[in-house]
């Protein structure tokens, strides 16, 4: 079946603008995760959604970052007032349980 998809593949924005990144998980997967991969910090956990439970937002780096998951499926990660240090690859993953995570191809964000 189809894997995790993310859009856009690449995004270039100007400092101070807001951006929205989208993730479509594997159909039927109840858990969804966002990670960030940057040269300086490696791969970092950002946020976790599981069904209708309150999300675990403990990895979000600042209040400029937010995410939602509508209808238990598609998720959107929003970064407000982007900064140059937000430049990174944003990865989404999904899983059936809290174990094996399947990753999407990522969105490469460049903030000028």
């Amino acid at each position: 079946g189809a894997g995790v998809s993310q859009s856009p593949s690449n995004k270039v924005t100007e400092k101070g603008k807001d951006v929205e990144l989208r993730c479509d998980p594997i159909s039927g997967h109840t858990a969804l995760y966002w990670y960030r991969q940057s040269l300086g910090q490696g791969l970092e956990f950002l946020i976790y959604f599981q069904g209708n439970s309150a999300p675990d937002k403990s990895g979000l780096p600042s209040d400029r970052f937010s995410a939602e998951r509508t209808g238990g499926s598609v998720s959107t990660l929003t970064i407000q007032r982007t900064q140059q240090e937000d430049s990174a690859v944003y990865l989404c993953a999904s899983s059936l349980s809290q174990v094996t995570q399947y990753f999407g191809p990522g969105t490469r964000l460049l903030v000028l």
């Binding site: 490696g42 791969l43 970092e44 956990f45 690859v89 993953a93 174990v99 990753f103 191809p105 990522g106």
Partner: protein
Amino acid sequence: GIQVEQSPPDLILQEGANSTLRCNFSDSVNNLQWFHQNPWGQLINLFYIPSGTKQNGRLSATTVATERYSLLYISSSQTTDSGVYFCAVASVRSSGGSNYKLTFGKGTLLTVNP
């Protein structure tokens, strides 16, 4: 939080050679996964292995949880094995008992030459 150290950081092999990648972690874990990130950036799950041994084709992995390390074996390497191999763990202590909040190591960059 939990520390994850991978070694070696870089590895260059000739096609057909075998290799062992190591992952050391600093605390008890309830989740350990190995991933391969190909040159195009796609992360592919290889193993979920918080303990024990698993094999999948030319790849196998062993985790000795009591000694806090895991090994990934690649046999008869192929050029398509090139990329970065990541170990990721969830710690019982630092994740509040959950097993989903993965902490990644810095990875091993593997280059397999033809």
